[in-house]
Structures are given as C-alpha cells and as structure tokens.
C-alpha cells in the first residue's frame, strides 16, 4: 500500500497527490510514468509522474478526473492509501542542450511537461512554455512553470485568461518569429498533439509528443499500448511514451484509445450515481490491508512503501 501524504486542488477536477513510494522516488526521471491500481477490483491505469523527492521518498501525481478510476482517485485525501503503484516505467525524456526549447502543456499535460521543462532549463536551454486550457479554472501550475521557464505564455479556448486561442496559434507565432526554435515538446490531449505535429512537420524542428495509450502491465508484456510509429508497431510503455511527433499515426492512436469507450462511460456513470459507496469500499479495503500488515497475517508480503 502507498500512503497519500498530501493533496492539493490545482484546478477544476485536477488534483495533486504527494505519495509515499520510496523505490520509485529514487529512480524517477522526467517523462516516466507509473501504473496505478486503486483497490482490489480496480483497473490498472498509467499516470505520468509529475515530480519526485528521493530524500523524502515521495512521488507527485497530478490527476484529472476523466474516467471512473481518475474520478475515484480524486476523491481520496491525505491519510488514504493506494493499493498498487509500480514504476518508474517508460523511457525518460531525452534531455540535451538543444538551444531554444518550447514546452507545450495542454490541460493536465502541463503537470507532466513541468519536470521535463525543468530538466531542459537545467541543461542550459532557453525554455519557452506554452500552457493551454479550455478555460481559466483549468490552467494549472502556472507559478511552477513560470519558475522554470524563461518565457511563459498562456492560451485559453474561451479567452478567460491569457491569449484567446489554441496553443498552436502561439506556436505558429514563435516559429515565424525572429528566433530559431530547436526543440519542441508537446504533452496534452491527442487533438492538441496532432495539431502541433502538423504545425511543425515541415519546419524541421525536432518535435516530441508523449502518448497516452491504454495500457495494462506497462512493461511490454501485453502489447495493448501499441501505436503506429513510422508505420511500425511500437509499444508506448517500453519504446515510449515519447516519440517523434511526425512519425506518429494519430488516427490509429485515437481509434485505439476509444476501444473501450462504452464501458468507460458506463463505469463513470455508475460511479457518479453513488460515489460515496465506492469510496467506502476502498476505505474498508485499506483498513483490511492495514490490519493484515500489522497482525502479521501476510507478514511476508511487503509492498515497498512500508
């Protein structure tokens, strides 16, 4: 079990968790993710690690409530526990001194882009961050992003904050501006990453996207997360999650990500009909696991957080 030490609401439906996970914290690098299973009947979902503290033995996850598992997770508070967390998985971001790096975070993607932006800055890059969101209350981590960036630009779809428009509008300006851009990282919803890929395709600027495929094990064992990259099967979990944008087939990614849409919607509807009930089940399980751990019933089965 992995204890939640701290939570903070970052925006509407977006929550940050600081979680005890010593082994993962020691090894995490920007761009990597964990697989989370909340409780015994839970599904396994990938979540990118937003930050880690190897000395405190903690990792930070930023979660947007979209489906059943993420909504349920966002109901948890400090003192609660998560049954299973495994990682860090996937290849870390390739951090180099590129020159001028543009880091684009769409919605909750901002949280994932933040550690990479920080690492790029530390590697000597001039970092320009673009944050995109539908509306002002969905802009997250602005202060943190400003801290690690040389320039920060904000775009909202409805114009309630920053510039009205899409992140690609700002990107277009930068690409046609007087200063050369050497590297672009885009993390966010698939349509946003696809739009960025289209924008930079003929510019020759190295553009990286981080793909959010459906995964089960996260270690290459099932192949469910496969994406078409340069017309070849690649596993997002072990070959990625970051790929060169122009090589990614976003149509296939979108289709594959919708494979379970009906069931996902049903599960979410069921949860929202009676959220307290589900929360109660999880908390009862936590208690059971805790009692087992201290009574020595399953003494040898130690999760590495303890």
């Amino acid at each position: 079990m992995f204890r939640i030490l701290e939570t903070r609401e970052l925006g509407r439906g977006v929550k940050m968790f600081v979680i005890e996970a010593a082994r993962i914290a020691r090894k995490q690098k920007p761009g990597q993710f964990v697989i989370v299973r909340l409780y015994e009947h839970g599904e396994r979902i990938p979540l990118t690690i937003a930050d880690s503290d190897p000395h405190e033995g903690t990792i930070t996850l930023v979660v947007q409530g979209i489906g059943k598992t993420t909504c349920l997770l966002n109901m948890l508070e400090a003192g609660d526990s998560i049954l299973d967390i495994v990682g860090p998985l996937g290849k870390p971001s390739e951090i180099q001194h590129y020159g001028t790096a543009v880091v684009i975070g769409g919605g909750v993607g901002t949280a994932i882009a933040l550690p990479t932006a920080r690492a790029l800055r530390q590697a000597g890059n001039y970092v320009i961050s673009i944050l995109g969101a539908r509306s002002r209350d969905l802009v997250i981590l602005e202060e943190e992003v400003r801290k690690v960036s040389n320039e920060t630009h904000i775009c909202t779809d409805d114009g309630t904050y920053g510039r009205k428009g899409l992140v690609t509008d700002k990107l277009k300006d930068l690409l046609s501006g007087p200063y050369p851009i050497d590297y672009i990282l885009a993390i966010g919803p698939v349509p946003m990453m696809r739009a960025v890929a289209k924008e930079t395709k003929f510019t020759g600027v190295k553009t990286i996207v981080s793909l959010n495929s459906i995964m089960v094990d996260g270690t290459g064992m099932c192949g469910g997360c496969r994406v078409l990259v340069n017309k070849k099967n690649q596993f997002a979990c072990v070959d990625g999650p970051e790929f060169e944008a122009e090589a990614v087939n976003f149509d296939v990614l979108t289709e594959r990500n919708s494979a379970y849409r009906d069931k996902e919607q049903q599960a979410l509807k069921d949860l929202l009909a009676n959220p307290e009930h589900e929360l109660e089940i999880i908390r009862m399980e936590m208690k059971k696991h805790f009692v087992e751990a201290i009574s020595g019933e399953e003494t040898s089965e130690v999760n590495h957080a303890s």
Binding site: K27, G42, D217, M221, C222, N233, S258, A267, N303
Partner: protein
C-alpha cells in the same frame, strides 16, 4: 507388508482411471475447472497399477526429478500428506504441475506401461495428493535447514522463481521474490485460465512457500524500479536468480494489426485472468466484447488453446483456431486439444492469416487468409508450411487473438551491461548450473530458453537453486 500387495500380472489388468470432467456443454458457460480430480478410491486403484520397474524412467524424464515410486507407495500406505511431502522435496508446486504439466511427453510418456497399454496416470495422482492437502488444510512440508545468513533475490514469481524459492528456503537461506505485477504467480495467474488452473490453487501454493519463510514483494520491476546491481550492492543480496519469463508478445507483422479488436494472447488473457475483465462492471478493467462475435485465434500452442477456449466462455458466436501447419505439428498438450474440440472450437489447420481488415472506425471486421501445405522439414524438424497459390479467402472476425509466441523482454539486460545475452536477447546461462556471465547472478526459465512449459521453467529453477546453494556455501564461481 509391501505397499502394493498385487502381483504384476494383476496390476496390469487394472484399467487406467479416467479423469472426471465437467460436462462440455455446461463448462463452456463458466470458468470453473474442467478436470474435477480423482476420488480417493480411484486414486488408490490407479496407484496399484505401477509395476515398480527396475529403472524408474518416469523419475528420470521428470524435469524436476519427482520420486514417483516413493510417493505412489505412500498413497498406497494411505499416508497422503507423506506423499505430498515426498513430492515437495523436488517440486514446490505439486497442485500446479499436477494440472498443467505435459505428462504425456515426460513421466507418463516414459512409463513402461505405455508399451502395452495406457501409462500410469502420474499427473492425476500428483494432483490428487496436492488436492488432499488443500482439502484437509494440512501441509506436507519438508524440513527446513538452519539459517545460513545468506540473502537471495529472485526476480519473477512465476514457476521458475517459485520453485527456486522453495528449494533455497529449505537450504536455510533468506529468500525474497520480486514481482512486477500486483499479484504473485506470473504466467500462472495472468496467462493460464481458471478453468485449467484455479487461482486459489496458485494462491495456496504461494501461501505454502510463505509459511516456509519465503518473502514476497509485489510492484517491483527489476531493471526499472531497482537494478540487479542495486540489489547486490545496496540491498546486500549475495545472489540473484533472474526468472522474468516470456516477455514481449510476437505479432505477425501483417497489415491491419493495429486495428481495434486485434490482441496479443498475453493482453487478452491478462485482461480476463489477472484483471477479471469478464466480470465488468464488478471489476473495473474493461474487456473487448466477445459475446455473439466471431473470434479467431492464431497459433497452435497451449496459449492459443487457452485463448480460444476462453473466448467460447465469453460467449463467442464462433471460435476458430487458425494454425499454419497441421494438427500433428501443434505444440499444445493433447488434453487441451481434446478439450477444445469437445467444447466446439473450429480447428482450421494449414491456414495462415495475411491481412486484418477493418471498418471506418478502425475496428476489425474480417481476416484475409491463405491455405498452406506442408513442404520440406525446417530447422525445427517440422515440415515447413508453404502457401498454396490462389488459395486466399476472407473470414469474418471481430476479434483476432495472436498466440504465436514471445521474445525476450530486454529490461533487465539493458540495465545490467555485464550480463551476456544471445542474438535473440535472451540471457545466456549455463544449461546445468544456470550461471550467467555475471558473478552471483543466475537465470532460468523462459528468459533463457524462450517460451517453454511451466515444468521446464521449474526444472531450471531447481537447478539454479542447487547451484546458488553451492555458490553460497563454497564462495567459488
């Protein structure tokens, strides 16, 4: 009095016992075990059939060397827990191997009774003894040696890892097993379906190891969460046994493989077995619907049989097995093939898929196939399948499950530079000692040999345990 009072002539008159089975019509609607196990009287009757030949070929052919005759004698003496303890001296997981071993190629294949009739049903008897333990809640545990103070890390809790753990704990070493998934058992829980190996059986065997002192830690991906070097240097393990198993699924590399509805057998079976997707919404992991759909499974091994039989239980309208060779070449256990046929699997032999075809939403609708014929023998000794010109045809399919094998997962190898691998990226290990190129590190099971069977992996686990023990006591490499 000797345990078996009958003269050989009388013993050979007794017919081999049949395994009671759940009715084929009924069982395709549930995930309960197909084989029901022998009742005690029939088990004793079966044990009487052994003619105690001078050279026990059954034991010689067993990859872990179970002392078959000795445990049969204990059955006849009605000491069933003693029989279990006897098996456990060589085999840490009798309830599992009694169910999934390819006995026809091993102990039973070598049995002298085979020459004149049916071999002794050694697998049924092993299962009987193990089930007796489970039913009574008592355990036939072998003795455990005094603590040596040495620490061994085992990477992977599948059959190779568990059998190695069982042997090393008996030798008095401190043993900790690391597992990447949230549940212990490896392929025994994510791969093999419940109708062949109920989950409780696996849990029980793991619990037994725990009672003997083995420690387990889930959610650790060695190579990512911690490296082999960190285990040895920071966590002070004296030896490591790598038993990470089969690894990455092989795809066919034909057009349309990215379509929604095309799955690796690993994914399909993991969603059903490990994640319980078929019980959605009680369990959260979704499963792609098989109900009233046409399902094709590609391959001819045990995994293919497991996948195709699973799809029937999920309500498939049709479940076909496409195999590019003929039935004689199929590597699956005979019992699985027979069970699949009884359950209504459509065996399409000498058929090879060449393309998956989808609709405008990227979902699988049909498979284009070609017919094959057998040509000259290839490197594996089996006759090579050759396409028949102009034989292409299309069959409808909403799900296609690919079960044509696996390749090495390079995660540990790439994070351990001094670990030698072969050209297929499997770890190089001595076939006798399971030693790798790195001092103190051993490897065995599918990560060394490529995809094989549960019992062969267990055999490698045993050999590794023996050689780890030798290394820990002598210190010489």
């Amino acid at each position: 009095m000797p345990p078996n009072p009958l003269p050989n002539k009388e013993r050979m008159k007794i017919q081999r016992q049949h395994m009671p089975e759940q009715d084929a019509q009924q069982r395709t609607h549930n995930f309960k075990e197909v084989n029901l196990g022998l009742p005690v009287e029939r088990a004793r009757q079966e044990a009487l059939r052994c003619i105690a030949c001078a050279k026990p070929t059954c034991m010689i052919e067993c990859p872990v060397g179970v002392k078959v005759r000795e445990f049969l004698d204990l059955i006849l003496a009605e000491d069933y827990l003693g029989a279990a303890a006897k098996i456990r001296e060589d085999n840490a997981l009798p309830a599992i191997t009694g169910r999934v071993c390819p006995q026809e190629d091993q102990c039973e294949g070598a049995c002298i009774l085979n020459k004149k009739g049916d071999s002794l049903a050694i697998g049924y008897l092993e299962r009987f003894v193990a089930d007796y333990e489970q039913k009574t809640g008592k355990l036939g545990l072998p003795p455990v040696a005094r603590k040596t103070g040495k620490k061994v890390a085992i990477v992977g809790s599948g059959p190779a890892g568990l059998s190695c753990a069982g042997d090393l704990i008996q030798k008095g070493h401190e043993v900790r097993v690391f597992e990447a998934l949230h549940e212990l058992g490896g392929v025994l829980v994510y791969g093999i379906p419940e109708f062949r190996l109920p989950r409780d059986i696996v849990r029980q065997e793991i619990h037994n190891l725990r009672r003997m002192g083995v420690e387990f830690e889930t959610n650790v991906v060695v190579g990512k969460t911690v490296t082999i070097d960190e285990l040895m240097q920071n966590e002070r393990y004296d030896a490591v046994f790598i038993a990470t198993g089969a690894g990455l699924p092989v795809f066919l590399n034909i057009p349309g493989e990215h379509l929604v509805g095309v799955f690796s057998a690993n994914e399909f079976l993991t969603r059903v077995n490990l994640m319980r997707g078929y019980r959605f919404p009680e369990y959260d992991e979704p499963l792609y619907d098989c109900k009233d759909k046409d399902v094709v499974v590609i391959g001819g091994g045990n995994t293919a049989m497991d996948a195709v039989r699973t799809s029937l239980r999920l309500g498939a309208k049709s479940a076909a097995l496409l195999y590019r060779r003929s039935e004689a070449e199929m590597p699956a256990r005979k019992e699985e093939v027979a069970h699949a046929r009884q359950e209504g699997v459509d065996f399409q032999m000498l058929v090879n898929p060449v393309e998956f075809l989808g609709d405008e939403h990227g979902r699988l609708r049909s498979v284009r196939c070609q017919r094959m014929e057998l040509g000259e023998p290839d490197a594996s000794g089996r006759r090579r399948p050759v396409p028949i010109a102009g034989s292409e045809f299309t069959r409808p399919a909403a799900l296609a499950i690919i079960a044509v094998g696996t390749t090495a997962n390079p995660m540990i190898q790439s994070s351990t530079p001094d670990l030698k691998t072969n050209k297929w990226r499997y770890i190089e290990a001595d076939p006798e000692t399971q030693r790798t190129s790195k001092r103190g590190v051993f490897a065995g099971g599918d990560i060394v040999t490529g995809g094989a069977t549960v019992i062969l992996a267990m055999g490698a686990g045993r050999k590794a345990a023996k050689s780890v023990h030798e290394y820990l006591t002598t210190g010489s490499w």
